[in-house]
């Protein structure tokens, strides 16, 4: 009895000892999170890759091995190519706007001015609002009949001028007043790009401000002493120091935009005539609506190379930021 208790005691202290060892404890604490993520992310991901090589349909979880057929048939579809092109248009277009907008806005938002808190509240709104819901407000702004954009343009007598301009730059020929923002292919591409930029901008601004704050004040002082001012300071001091963190914000924006399903789905459902499809909505249309699970999985996997490139970029710039 006593011996048993002693043994139990020594086993207990052995355990306690193990728990004090950094390595053992670290593994024990990290393991549940890792195991969980392998189950809910790793397994479905591998499964998606497997499905993309099969002819699985509808409600099944497996199918016959078909090699690269799904990738080939997806690639030969004009709608797929348009979806791929649109994914790039939305991602690059919106991030270009975001990069410029965030650089300008963050520069002014770090200053002290009266009413700063209300400005900040308004600026953060699009980020705080659930994406799908805020996109519905844009659906209303671009409504075919009641669009506030058209109402305002008409009141300012700019509507015909805009229609002429759209024709003159070959963006949208034959458009008519009132403009169908989401009903004409190129106009819809433009509208969706703006909505993406609108929703990512606040996040980028916030990260830019953080990047600005992380620059030690000594740098500011030193550049002042060295006589760096204006454009010179911007080019040699501000931009190089803020670039890494700014790029991290942009890389996030790229992932959030390229992989987004909700914005396009709510605004246009990929229409008119599949003109605004992106990879996620096209994968949905093929994989769920048409029931070609295998080909749908193949389409969504075309996003993967992009994500790998972004992740590598992120690691690289995060390290750069750390060094500086």
């Amino acid at each position: 009895m006593e011996a048993q208790a002693a043994r139990a005691g020594s086993r207990g202290s052995h355990w306690r000892h193990a728990l004090e060892s950094r390595r053992v404890l670290a593994i024990l604490l990290i393991a549940p999170a890792v195991v969980f993520m392998v189950l809910v992310v790793g397994v479905p991901f591998v499964w998606a890759i497997y499905l993309s090589f099969t002819d699985a349909i509808g409600g099944s979880l497996s199918g016959n091995w078909v090699g690269f057929d799904n990738f080939a048939s997806a690639w030969q579809d004009d709608n797929f190519r348009r979806a791929l092109r649109n994914t790039f248009i939305f991602t690059l277009g919106s991030q270009a706007i975001v990069l410029v907008g965030a650089a300008v806005l963050s520069n002014f938002l770090v200053r002290d001015f009266r009413g700063k808190w209300i400005v900040r509240f308004l600026v953060v709104l699009p980020w705080a609002a659930p994406v799908v819901l805020s996109t519905i407000t844009w659906l209303w702004l671009f409504d075919s009949l009641y669009s506030v954009a058209n109402w305002t343009l008409a009141r300012l007598h700019l509507d015909n001028a805009l229609v002429w301009l759209l024709g003159a730059v070959n963006l949208e020929e034959g458009a008519q007043v009132p403009l169908q923002w989401l009903g004409r292919p190129n106009l819809a591409l433009l509208a969706i790009t703006v909505v993406h930029a609108w929703r990512i901008l606040p996040f980028a601004v916030v990260i830019f401000i953080a990047g600005r704050a992380s620059i030690p004040t000594e740098v500011e002082d030193a550049s002042k002493i060295d006589g760096a001012t204006g454009v010179k300071k911007l080019w040699y001091v501000d931009i190089p120091l803020q670039l890494p963190i700014a790029l991290v914000a942009v890389l996030f924006g790229i992932v959030f935009t390229a992989a987004d399903f909700g914005v396009v789905y709510i605004l246009t459902h990929g229409g008119p005539f599949n003109a605004t499809q992106v990879l996620p909505t096209w994968a949905y249309a093929i994989g769920i609506d048409s029931g070609s699970l295998g080909e749908g999985a193949a389409i969504s996997l075309f996003l993967f190379p992009l994500l790998v490139v972004v992740s590598i970029g992120m690691l690289f710039f995060a390290r750069r930021a750390q060094v500086s």
């Binding site: 890792v34 809910v40 099944s60 001015f113 659930p130 519905i136 844009w138 992989a259 909700g262 750390q322």
Partner: protein, 287 residues
């Protein structure tokens, strides 16, 4: 700041604020519009008008709450709010259970490979649901979880856990090591030091994680949309576009009310916790 600099600041900041907030102002106006006012394309959409399209300063007499009432009395909206709260709370609970220990271990115990492991976990956050929803939708059907909130509760931590682990790792790193060392010297175990010293100090950080993880759940669309097919089991993000937009018939006023109601509290919380969020978000990498 000189007067000119001040003027320039407003000249830049105000247009940005208007552009970013405009859709919400517009939603606010729309949600109380009467049908006659809304349907007349001659009427200003920015304001409330009488039948002739004129604005009066007692504008509330020309507005109506009937569409907000419709939303709460004749749709499943209250149910969706409740579902969203249930899913959000359960997911936040699971997330903390998994991410608190992992974040702490990565910040303190894992040493040199901790940073690498932290980045690796964060990369999982970058694998988007759009890559995973097809196999997961079939998997959930096989598990007989389709049409159940459990499906969402099971899957949502897949993006909240990496996100929360990263943030918490950042927060834990900002806590001075000496505090824990003192407790360890006094004979406390590591776990005790974690529970009694680290956790209480990190409470603001943990609260930040709670808010942002919850908001990720409210935001999620594609899983809620593909995994849940009955209206009663939906969350707000999937329920509103599915049920309140029917073909060409739009209940615009009710839609705008449905959008604003969850947005406003989230926006207030974001603003209150924004600085802390940034500290944790950038603290993991940029230190």
């Amino acid at each position: 700041m000189t007067r000119r600099e001040k003027g320039l600041t407003y000249a830049v900041v105000v247009p940005f604020a208007i552009f970013l907030a405009f859709p919400f102002y517009f939603a606010l106006v729309t949600m109380f519009k009467t049908n006659l006012d809304l349907a007349n394309v001659e009427h200003s959409p920015y304001l409330y008008n009488d039948l002739e399209g004129n604005f009066h300063w007692d504008f509330w007499n020309y507005a109506t709450t009937e569409h907000v009432r419709f939303l709460f009395e004749d749709t499943n909206y209250p149910r969706w709010l409740l579902n969203t709260a249930i899913v959000g709370a359960a997911v936040v609970g699971i997330t903390l259970l998994l991410a608190l220990p992992a974040g702490y271990a990565l910040a303190r115990l894992a040493g040199r490979w901790g940073q690498g492991a932290g980045v690796a976990i964060f990369m999982v956050y970058l694998i988007p649901p759009t890559l995973l929803f097809l196999p997961l939708s079939r998997l959930i059907t096989q598990l007989d979880l389709e049409d159940s909130l459990w499906a969402l509760i099971l899957i949502y931590p897949s993006f909240t856990v990496p996100f929360a682990t990263w943030l918490l790792m950042g927060f834990f790193k900002t806590i001075p090591q000496e505090l824990e060392d003192a407790a360890l010297i006094d004979g406390a175990s590591r776990l005790k030091a974690f529970g009694l010293i680290v956790l209480p100090i990190s409470l603001p950080g943990i609260l930040t994680v709670v808010i942002f993880a919850f908001s990720l759940c409210v935001n999620e669309f594609i899983y809620a949309f593909t995994l849940i097919s009955s209206s009663e089991q939906r969350t707000v993000s999937a329920g509103i576009p599915n049920d309140l937009i029917r073909g060409d018939v739009f209940f615009w006023q009710s839609l705008m009310a449905a959008v604003l109601i969850p947005t406003i509290p989230l926006a207030l919380l974001y603003n209150a916790f924004l600085d802390r969020f940034i500290k944790g978000f950038t603290g993991g990498a940029f230190r």
